[in-house]
Subunit: 204 residues, 2 copies
């Protein structure tokens, strides 16, 4: 579809390079500074140097601006599940998914992630949205596992375990005094998960 | 606290025996018949033979009326985790929690659960609320595990696995042609979960 077909009836050249990223960064800054309830979409647009109309071409509301990277985050997991070696066991695919997801969270990203976590934790509506995002991630990972021929209920069990391990390790990665990388922390949690079933090791 | 202390300033004797249950049943019926968006709190109250004021003494909105049993549901899991044998392994506590939760879903309840599931699945706001309920359940089970002395991250891994196994087995229990009880279905899913870690059995 051409730009003129999309923009028919409204002036063209509305697309601003990097607008989505600027709006998302501005939303994070403002909510961190003054709280979610006191931040308006007009303020976010102004901070990004853009109009409020531009804001609404990218996001339905201020909450969504804080979840802008969700698609790439999910793709990092799903792509790794799809790319795992042929014949890999469900556990190996789970581990591959975790490794793929961890590439999204480089050391340079840690401070940004800490700030975002502080913002998300500050408001129930944001915590809910984050939970729903992780539930959707588990659903997508399970679908990618089934695509590989992994049967249910194993696909869903492995996908949910993948997201739980990530969530626990990610929380640790964000701690102020934590310096280890996410892969190391995920490996520690994976080792505890492997011990859970009977006959697999230490009881506690 | 006495009834007069609670009711100070408003007429007493507002409490209707079974009002909460009647309102919840009326909400389920009406939403099943005419959809969530087209159902009002006034209609729910009328169907239950109660006033709208009584409705709002029990529930904040129509959505909450569909989640009335949530507290007892969660208590069934948490009580079973607390009551598990001293020295039980995290896996044994997980299994005990699942067995406790299953007591909530007797055969007589299956048709009601199918109807409720149909209603919840019909609207995104209800599906979100259900996901948040299960996330809260996992948090409560993890807290009960930590109370038993089970360390993190094992407590959270076991609690999340407990909820995932329940969710998968419960979905199967609701299928129109399914006649096996929830405990049997949970045991099948647990067997697949036990096989997931490396060296624990079949690869797929």
């Amino acid at each position: 579809m051409s730009a003129s077909a999309i923009g028919y009836g409204v002036p063209v050249a509305r697309w601003e390079p990097g607008a989505r990223e600027r709006l998302s960064a501005a939303a994070l800054e403002l909510v961190d500074e003054q709280g979610f309830d006191d931040t308006t979409t007009a303020q976010v647009a102004a901070r990004a140097g853009l109009s409020e109309r531009t804001f609404f071409r990218h996001f339905a509301d201020k909450r969504e601006a804080l979840f802008a990277g969700g698609d790439r985050f999910e793709a990092a997991y799903v792509d790794a599940v799809v790319a795992a070696a042929p014949g890999a066991s469900p556990w190996e695919v789970l581990v591959a998914g975790l490794a793929g997801g961890a590439t999204f969270f480089s050391e340079e990203r840690r401070e940004h992630s800490r700030r975002r976590d502080r913002v998300i934790s500050s408001h129930p509506a944001l915590r809910e949205r984050e939970l729903l995002k992780l539930a959707a991630l588990a659903g997508s990972v399970a679908a990618a596992m089934r695509e590989r021929g992994i049967a249910e209920p194993t696909a869903t069990l492995a996908a949910e375990s993948c997201v739980t391990v990530f969530r626990i390790a990610f929380e640790r990665w964000l701690r102020p005094d934590e310096t280890r990388d996410l892969v190391t922390l995920q490996d520690e949690v994976l080792a505890r998960l492997a011990e859970l079933p009977p006959g697999s090791g230490q009881p506690m």
